[in-house]
Structures are given as structure tokens and as C-alpha cells.
């Protein structure tokens, strides 16, 4: 056999049969399964042990994962399954998390000294834009508001998610009563709403302020899980009038995030958005101790500005990465070989755009091509920061649908967790682009060495890695983003999964899209989550 199998430090090459290794484009090494001759009364393997598969000629690691299931049978064989360490680690923790949030609902009134001040999430008087704000107003016109009267709204989002705030940005506008005796203070608290610190102190002004940013590494105290706004009257009293109001516009908070060096970053919070690689680096550093992320393995190429990402109902790493992929489909995360120190390097890199593998259909090819995947219209729904329903409709021209006189529309819910206008536009356009033509999906069997342009080697079927582009000779292509419009008998696919059977010494690659089958449909249903 050309594969060697290790479970922990023990070798099982001679005892195992039907070794299958799988890797996927988003995730890297996905699974190792094998049957091993072992009597029922023998002890179980230690769960979570590393399972590693090597090529015996080159000593390269071609598969691996974390031992999760061992099915024992009375016929003296055990069926063992290991899940790729990347997939396993990214699903270990499901927890509430936020990165950047504009939702006004997360600010609520915590205290006030008088009934004569109240707060709501509305537009302010005279606003010419449909934009909600945190508005504090005097509701008892003609009655005095005395020195010391005030109202505090707090945001405990970071505390709920077990994180701390990295920064806040906001603008402010008050009514014409504005004076130095009316104050808007930004407060921060430690856990349990104690240890208050005033981070910023403004006089109310009738002119709309410029963007105020109070960030970690600057004025904001580090490590604070609760923020607050304090609307306050000082020094003298004044009767409330029609103009007694103060509005905090478009407050955007950011979480303090970890960098690839394993420490919380002290810079960068003046951006009122996060970048995809910042999100994924923070998640891996925080929640995946077995994965190793470094500057070399995470690409900072993406400029996609994510301005809303908050999951109060909890999310795990793979779902988070899937949401990132919706915004930034050009980058994908993968975990491959284990390093000598026992950790598994985590890669977040652009998908290759140059052709990597050269193959032919000689060993088997099958390509169902469902046209039901074509759309020319999409509606993206969500909730505004104030919690109101909103949606955005985008269209594209699809010649085949136009010729048939058909309109096909899909709906994508972003909920309040990741809705923003920028997000909706990006997600909608990406969906349309990937559904403009029927997918060029199919499976190809590779049973002989094929040429790999990236390494310059003829690699064995067990070395094929998903995520790369494969040029296949011998098929009539259909035009899509990867293929030329003129049929020339050669077409290019993206390898989305590769399953290698050690017994058959052949790899079956799924191309462009996962094959539609019952077990995959069930898995997708069980993994699906409803966005709030």
C-alpha cells in the first residue's frame, strides 16, 4: 500500500483496510475513515487522538484529523472515523460573539434621575434622512430639569459575548437649548456595571458633530465590557422646551480583537468596520488552541469592509466563516498538515486563479448539470439597526432566462446579525454572479499520477488537494466564469472535494459544486441555523 496510517504514535498500516481520506476546498483535510481488525474486548482508542496518513514514498502527510468515532463490531472489525482538525476545531465552540455592531436595540436605558427625561430609538426633529438615533428628550415642557438630572443608556454587548470593547464611533446633535451645561458623556464600566470611567465629555451642540471615535489604544480604557451614554444637566436648572433633546447618531461599536501574535490588538479600532481576515484570526486565536495562525498563513488581501457582525444567539467557527465567505468569496480557510510542534497551521488564503492540475476523463467522469440553480433576481432581507425590517432587491441579465421569458428570484435573509446596506449589496451581487449559468458540476476519478503546475511534480491521486483548479481534457465545456466561450474540448473546474480510497488507489474529485445526494442534504439541514 502506498499509504501509512498512524493513530497517535502507533502505526496501523498493516491492520487497517479501506482507508479513505477526504479533503475539501473550505476546510482542508476533512476526514479519515478506516476499518481495523480489533477484537471487541480490546480497549477503545483514546478519543481526540491525532490520526495521520502519510505517503510512504515521500513521507508527505496526505490526510489527518481528530479521532471522533469508533464503531465496534462483533465480527472483529472496528470502523474508525476521524474528522479533520480544522473542521473539528472550528466547530468546538458555539458562543455569542460580536465584531462590529450598529444595532440600536443593544442600547437600553439603565438609570435616570427624573421622569422628565426619556430615551428612544427614533430620528431627531428636523432630520432629513431616515436614520434612527439614540434620542434623549425632555418630555415635560415648561417644567425644570435641575443640575444633576440625567439619563444613562448602556450597551452590554461585549459583556454578553464574553469580550471587551475595542472602540466606538458616533456623531451627536442636540436641539437649540445646547449649552455647556448640557453634557453628553461616554462612560465605560467593568463587569457588573461598576468602576465607571468617563471616556469622553461633550457639551451639547446644535450643530451636527463630526465623527467622534473613542478607541482602545487611544482614550478608551482597555478591557471594558460595558459602555454607556450619559445625558446630563449640570450647574443650573432649565425648563424643558421643544428643543430639549440630544441625539447620538449611528453609534458603531467594535470588539477588541486578537491579532495573529496571540495578543489583543491596540490599534486599528478607528475603522468602524472589520476585515474578514481580522475576524477569522480573532476566532482562531480565541477558540481554537490546536490551530496555529500566523502572519504567513493569513492573507490580508481582502478589503471587504464588514460593518455589521454580531451573533447574540451564538455561532461556531464554520458558520462564521461561511458568513465571511458570503462577503468575501475569494478567500477560503484550510487546515492541512500537522506541524512538528503538534499544532495545525491555519491558512486563510485566496483561492488559486491559475490552473493547478492537469487531468483527463480517462478514469471516469460524470456531470449532472442542474439548471435549477440559475437566477436573475435576488432579494436580500434584514433588520435595520433600529430593528425595523428592510430589504434590497438586485437583478441581473441572464440570456437563457430572458429567452425563455422566465424570472427566477431567490431570497437571502441576513437578519439583524449581519445586515447592512453594503453587506446586502455585496451578498446579493455575489449570489447573482454565481447563479448566472448552470454550475459545471461533476465528479472525476483520478487513478494515475497527474501533473501539478504549482509544485512541478507528477503527484499521486492521494496528493490532490481541494481548492485548486483542474483542467480536464475531453469534455465539451459550458461557458462560466472559468471557461472560455469557445468549445475546445478542454474545461477548467474548481476541485471542491477530493476523496481518496487507499484500497482502490484512486481519488474521486467533486468539481465546482458538491454533488446533490441525500446524506449531504441531511447534513446541511442539521447544520442550518436561522438568522435572527
Amino acid at each position: 500500500m502506498s499509504l501509512a496510517l498512524r493513530v497517535g504514535e502507533e502505526s496501523f498500516t498493516n491492520l487497517a483496510s479501506d482507508i479513505r481520506i477526504k479533503n475539501v476546498a473550505e476546510g482542508g483535510f476533512a476526514s479519515v475513515t478506516f476499518s481495523v481488525k480489533r477484537r471487541l474486548e480490546q480497549s477503545l482508542f483514546d478519543t481526540f487522538t491525532d490520526v495521520l496518513v502519510y505517503d510512504t514514498a515521500t513521507a508527505e502527510q496526505v490526510g489527518g484529523g481528530r479521532l471522533l468515532e469508533q464503531g465496534r463490531n462483533d465480527d472483529g472489525t472496528w470502523q474508525v472515523t476521524a474528522l479533520g482538525e480544522g473542521l473539528a476545531s472550528m466547530q468546538d465552540i458555539t458562543t455569542p460573539v460580536f465584531y462590529v455592531d450598529q444595532t440600536l436595540d443593544h442600547w437600553y436605558m439603565s438609570t435616570r434621575t427624573t421622569k422628565r427625561l426619556e430615551v428612544s430609538n427614533t430620528t431627531w426633529p428636523g432630520a432629513t434622512v431616515d436614520e434612527d438615533s439614540i434620542m434623549c428628550e425632555g418630555n415635560a415642557e415648561g417644567l425644570p430639569l435641575v443640575a444633576g438630572d440625567g439619563l444613562i443608556v448602556v450597551n452590554r454587548l461585549a459583556e454578553l459575548c464574553g469580550q471587551t470593547f475595542g472602540g466606538i464611533g458616533y456623531r451627536h446633535k442636540a436641539g437649540s437649548v445646547a449649552s455647556a451645561n448640557w453634557r453628553l458623556k461616554l462612560l465605560s464600566y467593568s463587569a457588573g456595571v461598576s468602576g465607571v470611567v468617563t471616556e469622553n465629555d461633550l457639551a451639547w451642540s446644535a450643530a451636527l458633530s463630526s465623527r467622534i471615535q473613542v478607541v482602545r489604544g487611544g482614550a478608551l480604557t482597555s478591557g471594558r465590557p460595558i459602555l454607556g451614554f450619559w445625558f446630563r444637566r449640570e450647574n443650573t436648572s432649565q425648563n424643558a422646551t421643544d428643543e430639549t433633546y440630544s441625539a447620538v447618531r449611528a453609534p458603531t461599536v467594535r470588539a477588541a480583537i486578537y491579532g495573529s501574535d496571540g495578543n489583543i490588538k491596540n490599534t486599528g479600532y478607528t475603522n468602524e468596520y472589520v476585515l474578514p481576515h481580522e475576524v477569522i484570526t480573532d476566532w482562531v486565536v480565541r477558540h481554537c488552541p490546536r490551530l496555529d495562525v500566523s502572519n504567513d498563513t493569513v492573507s490580508t488581501a481582502s478589503t471587504e469592509q464588514i460593518d455589521q457582525m454580531a451573533y447574540l444567539d451564538g455561532v461556531h467557527g464554520m458558520q462564521l466563516a461561511s458568513d465571511l465567505r458570503e462577503r468575501e468569496p475569494g478567500l477560503v480557510w484550510q487546515v492541512w498538515e500537522q506541524d512538528v510542534d503538534g499544532t495545525w497551521p491555519f491558512y486563510y488564503q485566496p483561492l488559486p486563479t491559475a490552473v493547478q492540475y492537469e487531468a483527463s476523463v480517462a478514469d471516469g467522469f460524470r456531470a449532472p448539470s442542474p439548471s435549477s440553480e440559475v437566477y436573475n433576481k435576488v432579494t436580500v432581507t434584514g433588520k435595520t439597526p433600529a430593528g425595523r425590517d428592510i430589504n434590497l432587491t438586485l437583478t441581473q441579465v441572464v440570456p437563457s432566462l430572458d429567452a425563455a421569458g422566465i424570472v427566477r428570484e431567490a431570497t437571502i435573509p441576513l437578519g439583524s446579525e449581519v445586515w447592512s446596506t453594503a453587506a446586502a449589496t455585496k451578498v446579493g451581487n455575489e449570489f447573482l454572479a454565481s447563479h448566472a449559468v448552470p454550475p459545471n458540476s461533476g465528479t472525476i476519478t483520478i487513478a494515475r499520477p497527474i501533473y501539478d503546475n504549482f509544485s512541478g511534480r507528477w503527484i499521486k491521486p492521494c496528493n490532490i488537494r481541494s481548492g485548486g483548479l483542474m483542467r480536464v481534457r475531453g469534455i465539451q465545456p459550458t461557458p462560466d466564469t472559468l471557461n472560455a466561450t469557445s468549445p475546445d474540448g478542454v474545461t477548467v473546474f474548481r476541485v471542491v472535494s477530493a476523496t481518496h480510497s487507499g484500497d482502490a488507489n484512486a481519488t474521486v474529485c467533486e468539481l465546482d459544486a458538491y454533488a446533490l445526494n441525500e446524506s449531504r442534504a441531511i447534513a446541511q439541514l442539521s447544520q442550518a441555523r436561522t438568522r435572527r
Binding site: S2, T58, A362, F454, S455, G456, R457, D503
Partner: protein, 452 residues
């Protein structure tokens, strides 16, 4: 008389547990067969193409059929006792020795279990029975152990076996797993052990001379032939980075190397460097660069630079085209060094180790990590048991040996072709030699000729 005996072990004079043909009371009769085992094949074919592709093949278990009858006049008790012995022996694994009458060398079959058919033909006071045994056994018959020893140096330029030893002619019909014993030594090193079975042995070691200093970039100073007694050949290329320089050190060139056989090789670089340095190496005309972290500060090491196909331009060809001559059998590498601080990097040699040659019948490579090797202990790579372990002649010795698993495949030897053993001690000095005892059991499909 041919010999059919159940014995206790593979040995020139083993203890006989049951003789099937000594007439007391068993005799082997017609209908006996020890045919070679059948094949299991994984092959692919389609109507789109002529011929099949054989992806993998292996031998299935062997079935040995032995027809027995009893000595005329043997008693019912003798016969019962014989059948009982057969039943006990065929219940589990045993060694079955078989030697053809006119031959001098036996083969030993490892039986798994057997079935007994008894045909009671005469049941009076001089009974006669015909017994047929259908025995399932491991595919190959084994010959007696073949062993030897070899000393391999860690230096591609000196020693009798310079990082590679040719094994004597291998006996048997099919590939055999090899056991390697590394004798007690003060090694605390990572080990590379690779076997190559190929029709004609390739000239070994495949060794690239130290790089030639040409034009260093600004801020770098190159000294070719810098004297260093611990370097391969006593001198090396020294690349020094001046303060404040951020560019990589490139421009030094490695001579082109005539590669004896096309295929995949693992490249090892003998480097002396400091923490944080990186060596980036690529083959001209073939694939992306490989980055290697120089993480053993200020000690000469063989650094593993990964797998390359050499020569890069030579395509993989099948049988018809294999003899067509190609030009350019040279591999040419280029490299650069990045150094985060002031200091030097020294390079003295590069070695290519076969890791999947096109023409190889078998190519196995193992990288083993060991630490704190005790001087009383032998470290063994055991391809027969598929295991890697220590064994000690002194059970009271402190157990500080550390072994963290191995990557790759354990060694295999193939009869009928040349077999080479390639070794390197990655973290040891080039003056360290490795004493290796090896042994294997030849494996036969049928019986064995005297000489092989």
C-alpha cells in the same frame, strides 16, 4: 521424501510438532497443492479508452490443500490421535514447513486456520480414512532470516558508505519488509531512512556542491570556501548580512546536477544559521519555492527542503516512451536566504534522496523524530510488525528515550533488482556514523531455488 511438517519456528533445525508424511501414521497423498496465492487488483477501464489502468494490486491469502491418508495397518487410536493433533494445530496460526523432495531449502508457511474433511472409507479393525486439509495461510512462504550490517556516514563526501549503502542481493520472489536496528549510539537526532529498489542502482549519494558566491546584493558579503572544519568538505559558502539590510541574500548559484533517474526526490540542505532565518529554495523550471525555517541556531543541520521532481523538465513517461532519449537531465536549484538580524548563514552541501522515482519498483521513506537516545538502547524500524520502538539489553537503564512518531513508510526490499539504503542523521555532525543491522525474511510464492 518431501517434507510437510508443523514446526515451532523458522529455523534450520526446528522442533517438529507434527510430521504429515512420516507414516506414523500420516502420509501425504495425491491431490496436494501449494499453489501461489491469487491476486487482488484495482483497475479502471472505460469504453472511452483502450486498455485498463491498474491502480493497485496485492496478493490474497494462500490456500494450501493437503491430502492425507494413513499407514496401512495403523490402529484406530493412532489415527484418532493424528486427527486430534491436526485439529489442534489448525485452530490457530502455525508454521508449516514444506520442502520439495529433491531440494535443499524449505519454505515456511504461516497458517491462519484450516478445515479438515475426513472420508471414512474403511471402518473395520484395520481402518482407513482419507483426510483433506484446506488451510488458509499468509500469501508467501518464508525463507530463513537474512541479515547483515552496514555503517553509513552522515557526510556525502567521506566514508565507505556516504549516506547510502547498497544492500547485497535480495532473496525471494516478492518484496519483503525490512527491519533496521540502529545500534547504541549517542544520537539525539532526527533520522531519515529510505529504501529504493530499482533495476539498476543509481549512483549515490546525489550530492550538490556548496553554492558558488557570485554577486551578492547590497549589504551582503559572500565568502566562498570559508574554512569551517565542521562543514562538509571543510569549507562552505558564508553569507553575511550587514546591519540595517532588509533584502534577501540571493545571487549565489548552485551548480547544476546530473540526475541519474527522473522522479521525486527529497532535498536536504546542510546549513548553519541563526534564529529567524529562512531559506527559500526552488528548482528552475519547476514549481513554487519551498520555505524552510532555520530553527537550530548555530549548529550544522541537514534541513528538509521538501519534495521536488528532478529534473523538472523531464515528463513522466510510460513503458513505450521510457527508452526515448531526452536531453537535459540536469536539476538546477536556486535559493535565497532571509536574515532578520546581523549575522551569517553558511551553506555547505545539498543532498537529494529518492522519494518516488518513476522507474522504482519500491520507494519508501521514513522521517523519524527521536530524542535523548540512551547509549544502551537499540532503536528499531520494524516494517514486519509495522512499528517503531526501542529495545534495551539493560532493563534497568533509565527510560528517557523519546520518540514522537514517524512520517512516511517503513523500509522494503525487492528481489531481483538493486536495493539501496539511504540514511541521514539530520541533527548530528557529519563525522557521526550510523551502525545499522538489518534483516528480513525472504518471501516466496512457491518453493525456493537454492541460491535465492
Amino acid at each position: 521424501m518431501p517434507l510437510y511438517q508443523f514446526v515451532d519456528e523458522i529455523d534450520a533445525s526446528p522442533t517438529v510438532l507434527l510430521d504429515l508424511d512420516d507414516g506414523s501414521p500420516l502420509n501425504v497423498s495425491d491431490g496436494t497443492s501449494t499453489s501461489p496465492p491469487r491476486r487482488r487488483v484495482s483497475s479502471y477501464g472505460s469504453s472511452a479508452r483502450d486498455g485498463d489502468v491498474v491502480a493497485q494490486r496485492a496478493y490474497a491469502d494462500r490456500t494450501i490443500k493437503i491430502a492425507l491418508d494413513f499407514r496401512i495397518g495403523s490402529t484406530a487410536e493412532e489415527q484418532s490421535e493424528a486427527i486430534q493433533n491436526l485439529g489442534r494445530l489448525l485452530d490457530g496460526p502455525q508454521w508449516l514447513l514444506w520442502q520439495h523432495e529433491a531440494k535443499t531449502e524449505p519454505v515456511f508457511y504461516r497458517t491462519r486456520f484450516g478445515e479438515i474433511e475426513v472420508d471414512d472409507s474403511i471402518m473395520d479393525d484395520k481402518p482407513q480414512r482419507l483426510v483433506t486439509l484446506n488451510i488458509t495461510a499468509e500469501p508467501f512462504g518464508y525463507g530463513e532470516r537474512e541479515s547483515g550490517s552496514v555503517t553509513i556516514s552522515n557526510d556525502p563526501t567521506s566514508g565507505t558508505n556516504k549516506m547510502c549503502a547498497t544492500l547485497p542481493t535480495i532473496k525471494g520472489d516478492v518484496a519483503s519488509p525490512l527491519v533496521l536496528d540502529f545500534l547504541p549510539d549517542n544520537l539525539g537526532s532526527d533520522i531519515l531512512a529510505a529504501t529504493l529498489a530499482i533495476k539498476t542502482a543509481i549512483a549515490a549519494p546525489i550530492y550538490l556542491a556548496k553554492p558558488i558566491a557570485s554577486s551578492p546584493p547590497t549589504g551582503w558579503t559572500y565568502t566562498s570556501s570559508y574554512a569551517d572544519a565542521t562543514a562538509v568538505g571543510g569549507n562552505c559558502l558564508r553569507m553575511q548580512r550587514a546591519s540595517g539590510v532588509t533584502t534577501a541574500g540571493n545571487g549565489a548559484s548552485i551548480p547544476a546536477l546530473l540526475v541519474p533517474e527522473p522522479g521525486d526526490y527529497r532535498l536536504f540542505a546542510r546549513v548553519f544559521g541563526g534564529t529567524g532565518q529562512t531559506l527559500s529554495i526552488s528548482q528552475m523550471g519547476g514549481g513554487d519555492a519551498h520555505e524552510v525555517a532555520i530553527d537550530y541556531p548555530f549548529a550544522w543541520q541537514w534541513y528538509d527542503c521538501g519534495v521536488f521532481r528532478c529534473p523538472s523538465s523531464k515528463p513522466r513517461v510510460d513503458s513505450l516512451m521510457a527508452s526515448t532519449p531526452f536531453g537535459n537531465d540536469y536539476a538546477k536549484f536556486q535559493f535565497e536566504v532571509t536574515n532578520p538580524s546581523v549575522g551569517d548563514t553558511r551553506l555547505s552541501a545539498w543532498v537529494l534522496v529518492p522519494a518516488g522515482l518513476d522507474a522504482a519498483l519500491s520507494d519508501k521513506l521514513a522521517l523519524v523524530h527521536v530524542e535523548n537516545w540512551q547509549a544502551t538502547d537499540t532503536f528499531r524500524l520494524d516494517a514486519i510488525s509495522d512499528a517503531v520502538y526501542w529495545w534495551s539489553s539493560d532493563p534497568t537503564a533509565s527510560v528517557t528515550n523519546e520518540y514522537n512518531g514517524y512520517a512516511g513508510g517503513l523500509p522494503v526490499v525487492v528481489p531481483g533488482v538493486d536495493n539501496q539504503l539511504w540514511m541521514a542523521q539530520l541533527s548530528a555532525a557529519i563525522t557521526e556514523t550510523l551502525d545499522v543491522d538489518w534483516f528480513y525474511y525472504p518471501q516466496y510464492l512457491y518453493d525456493r531455488p537454492a541460491a535465492s
